[in-house]
């Protein structure tokens, strides 16, 4: 038995689905950000697997994975700053209760 591209793609789909489920159903904003990080990492696995199995001499997928890491770092920094600002104002980070911008 050898490892194929499908193993990595199915594993990445499972991790992405777990992250999507958490991002849809969690009420804690920090946990929601953690689930979004999980989804970004699953996409990174897909890119690196495609780069390894389909164009192993070009390394393009690994370059894209580096850019996704850059964007994820920026996203988590700004997201946690927003969560801290919300917590300072409302003393709660339950997403179902943060509805002051709802019309």
């Amino acid at each position: 038995m050898t490892l194929g591209l499908e193993h990595y793609l199915v594993l990445s789909a499972i991790l992405f689905s777990i992250g999507l489920f958490g991002a849809l159903t969690k009420r804690n904003a920090v946990i929601m950000l953690m689930c979004i990080e999980l989804m970004l990492n699953a996409v990174n696995i897909t890119l690196v697997a495609f780069s390894r199995y389909i164009v192993p001499e070009l390394l393009t997928g690994q370059v894209f994975a580096i850019f996704i890491m850059v964007v994820a770092a920026a996203e988590v920094a700004v997201g946690l700053a927003i969560i801290l600002a919300i917590y300072r104002g409302l003393v709660d980070i339950d997403i179902t209760k943060i509805n002051i911008m709802k019309w």
């Binding site: 990595y8 199915v10 991790l15 489920f21 969690k26 990080e37």
Partner: protein, 162 residues
Amino acid sequence: MGLVIAFWILAIVGIVSAIGVVMLRNVFHAALSLVMCFLTIAGLYITLSADFLAAVQILVYVGAISVLIILAIMMTRNVQRGNPFNKMIIPAFIIVAVFLGVMIYTVTSTPWQISSIPPVEPTTSGLAARLFGKSGFVLPVVIGATLLLSAIVGAIVLAREK
């Protein structure tokens, strides 16, 4: 053969710790489970012969982002039982199950054109040539640097005391 065993161990540990992020009641335990998942993903990069990405994964995710998340958990309340579900759990489960089924069906039924060339090792010099060399990704690197700078300034402005 060792690669196959390593892949299966990493896959099982990664999926279990990802489920732990969603299911654990204690937010701090969920964050530690997320760190475990990041570590297994770094191991998966090593099995894909992406050594530089594995090092970057450990430095950025396990080192920096997990510390940031744990800091945010410490500064907000309700660590002990602060990980509840909302009311959308059944529709979300149905959506995710349908999505996962479609993805697995598509992935396993597509005839991928697998290349027979062995992967380049080590990847660091190749990645540097792709990022900074001629006809490379120089402009996206500069845009990424600008994005990081603006994200730092934005985070400071947002989190600052008035």
